[in-house]
Symmetry: C3
Subunit: 211 residues, 3 copies
């Protein structure tokens, strides 16, 4: 049951991240096959790293090619409709926020389902949520989203933590999933909307020479 819910949310997250990959492809004016590649790598990248780190074989999309097909179709559709969006980069940030929140929970949930330690489950939530976007930005030659000022990794961490803690204390699966998603998305959305950031490291006197 909980696995079905997590699997459903995983599907959503994969498709949404595929859109963000395709939007980066649109910003780089790639061709349609470039959209398919960048969409796929972004959609399945985070989960692939999670499965490789957990030693899950076969990797989810190798076991079920439908995930890959969905990414490609979503990216192709984005090729034709991306111009409708008035602010492609802003759309990318908000879709990325939804994907981040979904994967923070499903990454942690999948790790727990494979018997991982709760600490590892939290780490897998963060890795699933952030690495798809990291790979997308590196391949697309964009400035990495993790370096942006607004709270980002923290949102994934909080979502994964909430989910793992609530699961640990016996909250129902639906409740834990819902709370984790709301925590991650709420935090990221708040940060995006009001441009909030945690206190950042500030170079102090004598410490910022280039060499």
């Amino acid at each position: 049951m909980v696995q079905q819910l997590i699997s459903l949310l995983d599907w959503f997250g994969i498709c949404i991240f595929s859109v963000t990959g395709a939007l980066v492809a649109s910003r780089k004016e790639m061709d349609i096959v470039g959209f398919a590649l960048l969409g796929s790598v972004t959609g399945i990248g985070g989960g692939t790293i999670r499965d490789v780190l957990l030693g899950v074989q076969p990797i989810f999309w190798v076991a079920q090619p439908a995930y890959l097909v969905a990414c490609v179709l979503v990216a192709l559709a984005t090729f034709f409709v991306a111009h409708i969006l008035h602010h492609r980069y802003r759309s990318l940030l908000w879709l990325d926020a939804v994907g981040l929140a979904l994967f923070a929970v499903t990454g942690a949930g999948n790790a727990l389902a494979h018997g991982a330690h709760p600490i590892i489950a939290v780490a897998m939530g963060v890795a699933s949520a952030t690495f798809g976007g990291i790979i997308r930005d590196i391949l697309g030659g964009e400035s990495p989203i993790i370096l942006r000022q607004e709270i980002y990794i923290t949102a994934a961490l909080v979502g994964a933590l909430v989910y793992v803690l609530l699961t640990g204390v016996g909250v129902s699966a639906d409740g834990a999933v819902f709370a984790g998603f709301i925590a991650a998305f709420g935090l990221r959305a708040t940060a995006l909307y009001w441009r909030l950031s945690l206190p950042r490291y500030r170079a102090r006197g004598g410490a910022d020479e280039p060499y």
Copy 2:
């Protein structure tokens, strides 16, 4: 038999990609050990990702260190002869095209040999053909070749598709390998020579604000 042919072409592709890695090292004026590292990572990178994704253990070059040794030797040789090339970047593009076409076919062939679904085999052909170059460009601080205007990923996709389709309808192994290679290399070479590209995504009115 087919495995022998694919294995032979894999050797060619690995050595050719090692040369392209060494040529990037030459453009960055690295030392000879840098040539060996960048050549090796480029030569065996695509196949390593393929094996990790397919769950093949041990990875091909861990099982047979001769692949790694060949990459290193080829990269060292390139250190001494790269200056003979009049256009190192142009040579790199053409060698990369040969490697791309070889790996599109052998990546798909290896995946089929490990029992992968045809869709996954095509994906592995594309991944084998493109990820060595992607890693090379990232490590070498070059602009990623996948972002270049001329048809690139498409050539790998077409080569892998042709190979998998022909194998699926029962064409002889030699014929499928040959047709896949010609399709991928022909397409990439045509694109390089005439600077052809597929229609690219174009930002339209109101959609290209930076934020």
Copy 3:
């Protein structure tokens, strides 16, 4: 016994690389969770790639989450004390040199312990020693340390080679570990201090056109 020594040095190396990741986070003025992510990825990145390539499951920090916890704690501590360092980038280079030398030896030692061929063990030493820093620099948007002028990859190679050769001829484990570390660190430290580099590839007439 030798495994205990290698495991101890691995702990040192992981914590030191975590500091270097946190120092890059400080240069990018990330928040404290960014420090934790970049510290962790740098601390455990090289060993993770080594384990994935060798097919070791579970990966060391998935088996023992204490490694991950240590990286996070070290990175958090760095958030609060990094300003004490007068030259953060210079400190980063020197700590990176210590980590490089430790991982060159322990990466090779772990590979031998898993039955790898000596050539593969040397490659794993180099990969463990360099890939944590490579990932750190890519995620942090820094110029990759492997492209710096002073001897770098060579130091890892020499350290791993010394360790594997001495182990092969039957030198005691302590002796081989010590000699390998001294060789790698000594070479890198000498290079850093006197800005030594190996002869680098130089573009010659007619060979350096951009296209």
